[in-house]
């Protein structure tokens, strides 16, 4: 007999025991481990997908931010350029006006200097000419300058015709104190055409001269006249000189 029924029964029991043991020690733990791994992989994949989505969203956000920053930068640059242009224009205007003011000031200063220089020249020239003339006249005539002046003045008086219309009071102005002899010669010359009262006054502004003031008329001889002419000539020369410099 090929079949031993005791063995058959024993093998059935053995097999069932083996099924139970393997279920307990093999299939259950292995399936559990597989499930756990699958779950872990699924969760990691989900996590990765979530992270990817998050990363994409963040990328998009940063892209937008960068675009916004670029836009702001361009706007700021534009504004800065406009501000700079405006500031440059303003500074240029200020510089121009400042320059103009400086130039005007300088011009005014130059004019002032010119005027003071002219005055100074006139004053010095006058003094020099006066001194030179005084010295020259003294040297040449051997007489006092005042006498010579009075002499010239008296000669002019004598050249005048007697005429009516002179006031009652004649004023003789001189730059220096007239000596009694000089006053006598002057009075003599005046009496030829007028019998008016003669008043003597001293006026330092006459520049070594004598003048007779009678109402609206004036007879005079003065170094100041010559000096005035000289001053005009010198002024003309200086103006011509500064015109050439410019």
């Amino acid at each position: 007999m090929l079949i031993d029924w005791f063995t058959v029964a024993a093998q059935i029991v053995n097999f069932l025991v083996l099924v139970w043991l393997l279920k307990r020690f093999l299939y259950a733990p292995i399936l559990k481990a597989l499930d756990a791994r699958e779950k872990r992989i699924a969760s990691e994949l989900a996590d990765a997908a979530e992270k990817q989505a998050q990363a994409l969203a963040e990328r998009e956000e940063y892209k937008n931010k960068i675009e916004e920053l670029e836009r702001q930068k361009a706007e700021l640059l534009r504004n800065a350029a406009a501000d700079a242009a405006a500031l440059r224009e303003k500074l240029m205007m200020e510089a121009r006006s400042e320059t103009e003011a400086l130039r005007e000031k300088h011009q005014k200063q130059l004019n002032d200097e010119y005027r003071s220089l002219t005055r100074e020249i006139a004053r010095r020239t006058q003094a020099s000419v006066f001194a030179i003339a005084k010295k020259a006249l003294a040297d040449l005539a051997g007489a006092d300058l005042e006498e010579r002046i009075t002499y010239v003045f008296v000669r002019r008086l004598k050249e005048m015709d007697a005429r009516s219309g002179f006031p009652d009071r004649l004023i003789v102005k001189s730059a220096f104190e007239l000596q009694p002899s000089l006053r006598a010669s002057i009075e003599e010359a005046i009496r030829k055409f007028s019998g008016a009262e003669i008043v003597y006054e001293q006026d330092s502004g006459l520049f070594s001269g004598i003048e007779l003031v009678a109402g609206g008329q004036k007879i005079a001889w003065s170094m100041g006249d010559y000096l005035g002419m000289l001053e005009q000539e010198v002024s003309a020369l200086i103006r011509a000189g500064s015109g050439e410099e410019k």
Partner: protein, 223 residues
């Protein structure tokens, strides 16, 4: 020379007889259970796993996939029974490579026991899945006239299961034993190689047939 390892009695006490078939089966069970226990004691569910765990995972998941491909939608319910069937038969056949080893599957008692287990498991799974009434109704398909044929078919396929496995494995062992006496060199090696292949194929066939029978029994509900 003996035809079956059942004949080799190791210890006997009255009705109880410890023969080589039972002893070898215990040895195989011990190896399987101890190996499983050693591997599953420290299971890793991380990305890096020990080699043996990987091997067992491949075996378990592939068995599950095969069961699913045959038509059972929840393989984990049948994995314990069908997977153990495959592993036991396969290991029993593959150990033939060990000199002096006599496979338990070469004993008609073992194959009959396995076939009886399938014979009982098929209606059990069928009833568990679709209920007693609808399972019994399958015997009346397509007409009640088919009832005797269905019953005979049920019995004959169980017999066929047992005989097929026994015949293949026993004949393989027998052929090698005979060849060893005639040409002790080369040819037994080639035959052993062929036998290993046959052993694996038989394990696969036995398990797949059991799966198909269970799938047919549980089909009523799924339909």
């Amino acid at each position: 020379m003996h035809l079956s390892s059942d004949d080799v009695i190791i210890w006997q006490h009255g009705f109880f007889r410890l023969n080589l078939t039972i002893l070898t089966t215990w040895g195989l069970m011990l190896v399987m259970v101890v190996t499983s226990r050693l591997v599953t004691r420290r299971l890793s569910d991380g990305m890096r796993i020990p080699r043996l765990q990987g091997m067992l995972e491949v075996i378990v998941s592939t068995t599950g996939k095969q069961i699913e491909e045959v038509g059972l939608s929840h393989p984990e319910k049948y994995l314990g029974f069908l997977g153990t069937l495959f592993l036991f038969v396969a290991l029993s056949n593959l150990c033939e490579i060990i000199p002096g080893y006599e496979p338990p599957t070469g004993s008609l008692s073992t194959t009959a026991a396995l076939a009886i287990c399938v014979f009982i498991a098929v209606p059990l799974f069928g009833i568990m899945e679709s209920g007693l009434k609808s399972y019994l109704a399958t015997y009346l398909d397509p007409t009640p006239l088919m009832l005797p044929f269905n019953i005979v078919g049920e019995l004959s396929r169980t017999l066929a299961l047992a005989i097929r496995l026994f015949g293949n494995i026993m004949s393989g062992s027998m052929v090698i034993a005979i060849l060893l006496t005639i040409t002790p060199f080369i040819f037994p090696v080639l035959m052993s190689m062929l036998d290993l292949l046959t052993g694996l194929v038989q394990a696969y066939i036995f398990t797949i047939l059991a799966t198909v029978y269970i799938a047919a029994a549980t089909k009523a509900r799924e339909e």
